[in-house]
């Protein structure tokens, strides 16, 4: 059964007809040929399809396109401005936060979501109860590992990913407390 839907992806609006069984991920990749979100497990476990849906990070493989009708979607390809990468993307490059790169667009969208969630004061499982109410919990390495646990990296670039997100979370101009860890066990 088909449905006509409209989506705004990375600032551009699209009208498309999809089978109701189509996921948002497949609508993006197969219908709109927007291939930045990757299909890894297709079951919500690996995070490589992560996009920002109305500003919130979700796995697009478990969202039905028809249920996302009218929504605004941001992929990793739509995060840069004026030809410059988003600060999360820049930090991943600088910290070697990738090897093959397949999980990277998902890592990027997830990390951008993490920064927004922390700025909104959202706690995580490792935030002590009652802490982090004003200004948001500090994004320590432990906080980042917990908050990014929905994004797997089979190359094992986690050390670089954590360092990159720490840097992206740091207010501009503030120096790191210690030299950033390098590499991912390569």
């Amino acid at each position: 059964m088909d449905a006509d839907i409209s989506l705004t992806v990375d600032g551009q609006s699209h009208d498309l007809r999809v089978d109701t069984r189509t996921t948002l991920l497949d609508a993006l990749r197969e219908h709109l040929h927007i291939t930045s979100p990757k299909k890894g497990c297709d079951h919500g476990q690996c995070g490589s399809c992560t996009v920002l849906l109305s500003g919130r990070r979700v796995v697009s493989c478990l969202v039905l396109a028809v249920a996302a009708e009218g929504a605004e979607v941001t992929t990793a390809a739509g995060l840069g401005r004026d030809g410059r990468p988003h600060r999360v993307q820049q930090a991943l490059v600088e910290h070697d936060g990738l090897q093959c790169g397949y999980c990277t667009p998902g890592q990027v969208c997830s990390a951008v979501g993490v920064l927004d969630e922390a700025a909104a004061g959202w706690p995580s499982a490792v935030t002590p109860p009652g802490a982090g109410g004003d200004g948001g919990p500090a994004l320590t390495a432990a906080e980042i590992r917990e908050r990014m646990s929905g994004n797997l990296c089979r190359c094992g670039a986690y050390a670089g990913i954590v360092a990159a997100v720490e840097e992206a979370a740091r207010p501009a101009g503030e120096a790191p407390a210690a030299p950033a860890p390098r590499g991912g066990g390569r």
Partner: protein, 338 residues
Amino acid sequence: MKPFDYRRASDAAGAAALVAEHPGAAFLGGGTNLVDHMKLGVAAPDMLVDITHLPMDRVEALPEGEGGVSIGANVRNSEAAAHPLVRERYPVLSQALLSGASGQLRNAATTGGNLLQRTRCVYFQDTGTPCNKREPGSGCSALEGYQRYHAVFGASPDCVATHPSDMAVALVALDARVVVTDAAGGERRIPVAELHRLPGEAPEQDTVLSRGDLITAVELPEMPMAARARYRKIRDRASFAFALVSAAVGLELAADGTVADVRIALGGVAHKPWRALLAEEALRGSAATEAGFAAAAEAELSEARPLPGNVFKLELVRAAVTETLGEVAAELRGEGEL
């Protein structure tokens, strides 16, 4: 995946009626469990009634006198966990929510959907194997199979699956209730502790709800011990894994240091969030000591019937109950923060 008709519901009673009229229909919330199960062939609805646009998306204080907080069924797990009313009055619920799934899934999964998620028993999710819950009468593959995530309390020869929710465990400890709208437009309230069933001879029925019944909200009553209640989850890895055993624990101490009241709910051990009534019974009026807590855990474990593949859970129940009670008691006595 089987083709299906998609409907966007505009009112709760209408959505309930639509699902009640169509035997193949299902409510669609965040979809994080249902869409996955549709891909796997575990669920095959021919109509999805999308309820996410219904106005059930608020966390609010219940009217004065009634105390407590209401969480709309469409409130996303991440929003519920972060809401100031939940964090201040029911931190155990925030902890339980945050210990489940991943950031992306919590942003999509809803309060109602979390309660109605289905077991992650590997055989239930594998259509190539017999499973009484998925296909009544076909048999239970777990009885002689992989049992690590399976029940030690209240199972039956037909099903040894566990309910996977962390949130529901905290809700049971908090005496929460669900508000349900039925197909006739009526409304009723059911304690979360009575929402889920034990498998018995009908493991295909997870809950006491009838076709078309729609959960519109979860209500948390005022409860003095809630502000210091805590959640402990034991799992195979530090994040993004289901519980092997979890415990939501609330404690109220009398002036003489004995246990005035207590709530203990366990996750990962039964077909439903398991209220540890025997442990609670053993504790009320007794000394709030480590020995007392351990004795309470033993009282509950007298009812345990582990499978060969999950005997280890008994020690985890012992540890989760004893240590979490100890932490809450220490905090109540002002012996430092957790």
